[in-house]
Every structure is written in structure tokens, then in C-alpha cells.
Symmetry: C3
Subunit: 138 residues, 3 copies
Amino acid sequence: MKSLTRYITVNYPRRRGFINITPEVVQCVSESGIQEGLCLVNAMHITASVFINDDESGLHQDFEHWLEKLAPEKPYSQYHHNGYEDNADAHLKRTIMGREVVVAITGGRLDFGPWEQIFYGEFDGKRPKRYLIKVIGD
Amino acid sequence: MKSLTRYITVNYPRRRGFINITPEVVQCVSESGIQEGLCLVNAMHITASVFINDDESGLHQDFEHWLEKLAPEKPYSQYHHNGYEDNADAHLKRTIMGREVVVAITGGRLDFGPWEQIFYGEFDGKRPKRYLIKVIGD
Amino acid sequence: MKSLTRYITVNYPRRRGFINITPEVVQCVSESGIQEGLCLVNAMHITASVFINDDESGLHQDFEHWLEKLAPEKPYSQYHHNGYEDNADAHLKRTIMGREVVVAITGGRLDFGPWEQIFYGEFDGKRPKRYLIKVIGD
């Protein structure tokens, strides 16, 4: 069994936003030389997500508004977690969007449907944070 | 390491609904001959889900009502994504229900608890869509 | 390819709560002798979750209040599932929090970010329930 591990640092300039990280994952799968296997991509921080959806800016605005409705940032005082912190909402938003994705590798490539793209979702940015790519297989 | 890859097409006759796909996954695990490993099952479309829960019709009605409350289909104009599309709610509903499941394979079988069943969740149907089954292990 | 499978029983004394199960998972990874691979941890019951977040009691209170807002336990009669059962809300809460996590194993250890901890989330307790740990790799 072969494997490849990669850590990638993101420093998102705003509190919240989405970054298409598909090219980074594609490159890791290619470098690994793995033909058949699985690829795990996960946020290493608990106020960020990795998820798969469409790369469409209107949809990303919808995600932002929807997550603010389900888990509003303010008032900060509504959350027990927000004593020294102000990011309780980021923990909840990341829970909705998910920590990780697992993607099949078939014939040496990410085995994707027509519109699947991998995103890093930042909910408490303005500082360096990492995500992890792990490829295993033969 | 062995592997098996299978694509299955669903053409659900309504916009939304749930299909128990456990038999298809069980058959793939059996065909693979894999005794110990992991089985990934994922929707290949970004307006559909694969998830594990109970095969109970009352619960499925509850999921439908609950998802409509959290991410209503209408009015279509509430979503930025809905310019040429009308399926923004389907992207949000799929986010709640999840894209994929990973199940352990032990002794050649899906290693399930007493009530676990795998479902394909359709949120924008009436057209052919695929899900993927990938089994890896020894 | 090596593998290790472990079933752990939890009997949570209240209806809902969170248990940090990271030590159990760390021990399984160590026992497996696997240096590079993947570790799956999943609830085997459909009214419980396994998820990764921060071990901070204020945040756990926030999760409890937030899940009660998104999928309230009562009135029981609001759910179709609650004929002979009273746990429809637990199925919904588990859906938000997730069934499983997949964690990379690198250099013989769980490849975690600084604050990642694995939790078992119980939403219908007061009885024995199991979660599963599966480690595969080399």
C-alpha cells in the first residue's frame, strides 16, 4: 500500500469565505502515483470545513446567508463558548458544512461527478490554518 | 490491496425522496471478495446525498418536513443561485444530510449496527443521477 | 495491509451528552501497529454521533442549545416517527452532528490539528450503545 500526506496552510484575509482547493488535491493524487484507493481531505482546525459542492458564486452567497441564519455570529453573548473567544458560531457553522471529505481514486484520478469540486470553508479566518490531504491505495 | 468500483444510476420520479441502497452496497462488498477494509458510498451529484439512518417511513416524512423548514424550496427568488436554476435548496438540503458514508468491512461484510441502512437522498430528481461505491481492502 | 476492529459500548446515564473518546481511539491506533493509513470511527446506532471538535464545556452547552433549537425534542407529537418511539429528534440531531469521522494516521499516530478531539454524541441514552473503530493501513 502506498500513501501520501500533505499539509497546506491557508491564511484567509476575512472571517469567512470559501476556497476551491481541487487543484491542490488533484496534484497530490497525481504525485502519489496511486491508481486505486481513497483520498481524505480534512480541515485541521475546528472552525473550518472541507466540503464538496458547486463552484458557483451565487450558491456561495446562499451558503453564507443560510449559515448566518442557522448559527448567527452575533450577538457574541448568546454563546457560552464566547468568554475569551468570539468564534462559537464558527464551530457550529463548520459542523453544518462538515470537517472532511473522502473521495475515491480510480484509474489514478479523483473519481468525481460532473460538478463536484472540493472547498476549504473558513469561518474564523485572518490567521494561518491548515488542511490535510491523505492518499492511500495501490 | 484489492478494490472494486461501481457506478449506479438513479432516476427518481419526483423532486425529493429516499431510496434504500443497502442491497446494492452489500452485493458490491460480496463481489469484491474483500474481508477487511473500508467501503465508501457517495453521491456523484451535488444536489443528492448518501446517508445512514433508519428505514422507517415516519422518520422519512420527518426528514422531509425538517429539511423544508431548514432550507425551504420556495420562494425560489430567496436564493442567489436561482437565476437559471431553481435548485439552491437542494444544495443546502444535501449539505445537511451529507455527501457520503464510509463503512467498515469486517469478515467480508458491512460492519453495521442493528438499524443502520444506507440511503440515497434525492433533492432535485426527475433525471438520471449516479452514486459511487468504492471498496478497498484485503 | 493491516487492520484492527474494535467495538466499544457506552451506557450514557442521561438522554443527551458528549464523551471524549480520543484516548480509546489513540490506543487502538497504537495497538494496530499501523504507521500510514486511515482510522474510521462511527456510531453504530442511528441516534448517536461521532464527531470532531473542541473539548470545551461552554461549546458543548452551545451544541446542546443549538441542536434543541434546530430539532427540538418536544412536543413529541410533532414527529411522524414518534408513534411507539419518542426519539425522532435524536435522529435529526445525529444527522447534524454526523455519523462518523475518518482520520489520517501518519507516523503511527492520529494526524490531528492542535484542538481536534473525537467525541461520541449521545442523543437517546440510558441504554447500552456501541461505536466502532476501524484502522487500516501498513
